[in-house]
Symmetry: none
Subunit: 402 residues, 2 copies
């Protein structure tokens, strides 16, 4: 990747447009008797024809062998050093419920749990209580817990999972978890991992004490566990680094949150992939960079359902001509990470990358797949290089040195 | 490579097993009229069949253009930054003669040399004295040289080459060499390159003075030259980084020493490649990582003998089914570095890497060679990535970030 100070120096504002079409968990492995990956199995006439006019490569999200979460994988794709700028779980959870995390906010993941009379944890997930109960309990906590000098935001995720955001000056995320990660012991006191975090630790412990009092009459969710304290990662924005005016199109809150973190404007409120392509057309004139996120490829991979993953790719392929018709100067199709159906989880595998521009060495051969990409003219690269390549192909970077 | 602090965080203990079969100096170049490399020339039906079910790639030991010694090449293969953690010559020599170098030991390479009446070096190798004479002189030095507060170990390598190990508290390797690297001048006084090494410099100079007195009556080996002062490199172990319980199988002492440095247990005492595979079977139940080192490929390359190098590869190929029958979750076949017969020495060339697991994109085409590997789906990678990839394919790394 190009160092940030050089990006700032070389990037220029131009009318050319870059589109990133990101299929979550795109990369796969042979998934059936025929030895084909989900992408190979999908009928993708539009992607295949596009591949012939594009350059292909295999991109490793971070480093070989590392399986990234969605946060680091996206940061890498947006050109950041995701090993250095890891986003804490609390911040990701807050972004995931659509909370607009500010630079002074401290977020933590909060699980409802069950403790016995002696305060020993008997179930870290409180029997996976229904989301409606979670919502009622969060409302009680919002009404009854108060901390000095801090505004509290208590937000339901789903089932037993929630988020708490402490808002106020001088908060610090160098805190240990109260969640001991196993049952048979009481929750741990939250400790400051740095002297500067002492007040934050005190506030977090006060929160837990008050929450326990509020929930004492409830069952099975009669206690909370906090973990993953995190503040806003404070990354340089796309405007700062690339002089771009970026727009983000996503269905799920977490991806909108990730886009906001790097300074993208979140566009509209799509509920399907088709609606996302509608938003792309609708907002075309107002941005020079678009990030469009397709979630269901990942969900199908996580469910171990190669046929459904292939079907999502086919749905995407059918919509692709709508993006091509807009004639972006640079079009990138890839994923944030691999989610092979065979593993039912994110994986470390590099994934296929397609880059279309007037300035590539075209593959000349139809086909977009892991295997075609492994032989592609872009070779093997890393996600943190992809946006630099897109900027270059959009003629948005000046020459370095004389 | 994944940074060490992230490896520690993500690695998990599981029952899956990883086997590294390392053919020393495996990589080659066209070596005869038919333009085939040693590996292409060898008949390797088992490797070829395995390649069809595996992923291939070309791996550069350290960085392009750098020819590594066995020490750095192995450290890279074990996942360390071998440019940063270079093992000093003294420590490598001590390991090479099978000395169990401890954390407080200071080792130096010692050459017997010839000086004239005025103390001027006339032959830095003392006429390449025979090893038996070296052994007799080392025995004299062991009997007659004594230093305060330090235990001395004086060990023959071969011909004029020996090792001296200073054992005691507070020793420091920031010392200059006494060997001026050319004749016509006297040996140099050993200087402390850091104030903390002053006592070590004094001890080393006392050693040289006493050795000169002992050897005064000998000829041509009437003096010693010391260079490459080095202490134990103190690398984090496999248990620490990877939560592995590693076993090492090698014939030559230096490779056993390298394995011990990273915390491997050296298994048995094999005298041939066949015996090494016997040890692999015998110790199978007790380790989750095995490093098996095959030396004669390198020796044949160093001798410029492509036919013999191919024959060693064929011998290895015939034994390979014994390893396959153990059904390791991950099997890696590669070398530490290239040793093309044409060069009769180590070289900088990347070398073929084969990785077999249930989670690779199989090549689908038989053949294991430099050329097949250059087109493999793993692409071009570096040795320091190989163990991370093996860990990932063995499902021994958790996800990074949420």
């Amino acid at each position: 990747m190009i160092p940030n100070h050089i990006r700032r120096e070389l990037s220029v504002k131009t009318p050319s447009k870059i589109v990133f079409l990101i299929l979550d968990g795109l990369g796969g492995l042979p998934a059936g008797a025929d030895g084909q990956t989900e992408l190979e199995r999908a009928r993708t006439p539009n992607l295949d024809a596009l591949a012939a006019k594009s350059a292909l490569g295999l991109s490793t999200p971070l480093v070989p062998g590392l399986t990234p979460g969605s946060g680091p994988a996206h940061l890498a794709l947006f050109g950041y050093d995701a090993l250095e700028h890891n986003i804490g779980r609390g911040a990701l959870s807050a972004l995931g419920v659509g909370f607009d995390l500010g630079p002074q906010d401290l977020a933590a993941r909060m699980n409802f749990c069950t403790v016995d009379q002696a305060g020993i944890i008997t179930d870290r997930r409180a029997g996976r209580i229904p989301t409606v109960l979670n919502e009622r309990l969060c409302a009680r906590l919002r009404a009854e817990v108060q901390l000095p000098g801090v505004e509290l935001h208590i937000l339901t995720e789903e089932q037993y999972r929630a988020v708490v955001v402490f808002q106020g000056p001088g908060l610090d995320d160098r805190l240990s978890d109260s969640d001991p990660q196993h049952t048979g012991v009481p929750p741990q006191a939250i400790a400051a991992l740095d002297p500067a975090a002492a007040r934050s630790a005190d506030l977090a412990n006060q929160f837990v004490t008050q929450a326990q009092r509020v929930l004492a009459s409830e069952h099975p969710a009669n206690m909370v566990l906090l973990r993953g304290f995190a503040t806003h990662p404070s990354l340089p924005t796309f405007a700062d680094l690339y002089k771009l005016t970026p727009g983000a199109i996503a269905v799920y809150p977490m991806y909108k949150g990730l886009a906001r973190i790097v300074g993208m404007r979140v566009l509209g409120a799509a509920h399907s992939v088709a609606e996302e392509f509608d938003l792309l057309q609708e907002h075309w004139a107002r941005h020079d960079f678009f990030y469009l996120h397709v979630k269901p490829t990942d969900s199908a991979g996580e469910d171990g359902d190669p046929a459904r993953k292939a079907a999502v790719i086919e749905e995407f392929d059918a919509l692709l001509p709508l993006a091509l018709a807009l004639q972006p100067e640079v079009l990138v199709v890839t994923g944030d990470h691999s989610t092979p159906s065979r593993l039912k989880s994110h994986s470390w595998h590099p994934l296929p990358l397609l880059l279309r521009s007037a300035y590539v060495l075209p593959e000349g051969r139809a086909g977009f797949s892991e295997r075609a990409a492994a032989r592609g003219s872009l070779g093997h690269l890393q996600h943190a290089d992809v946006l630099d390549l897109a900027m270059a192909h959009a003629l948005k970077y000046d020459k370095f040195g004389a």
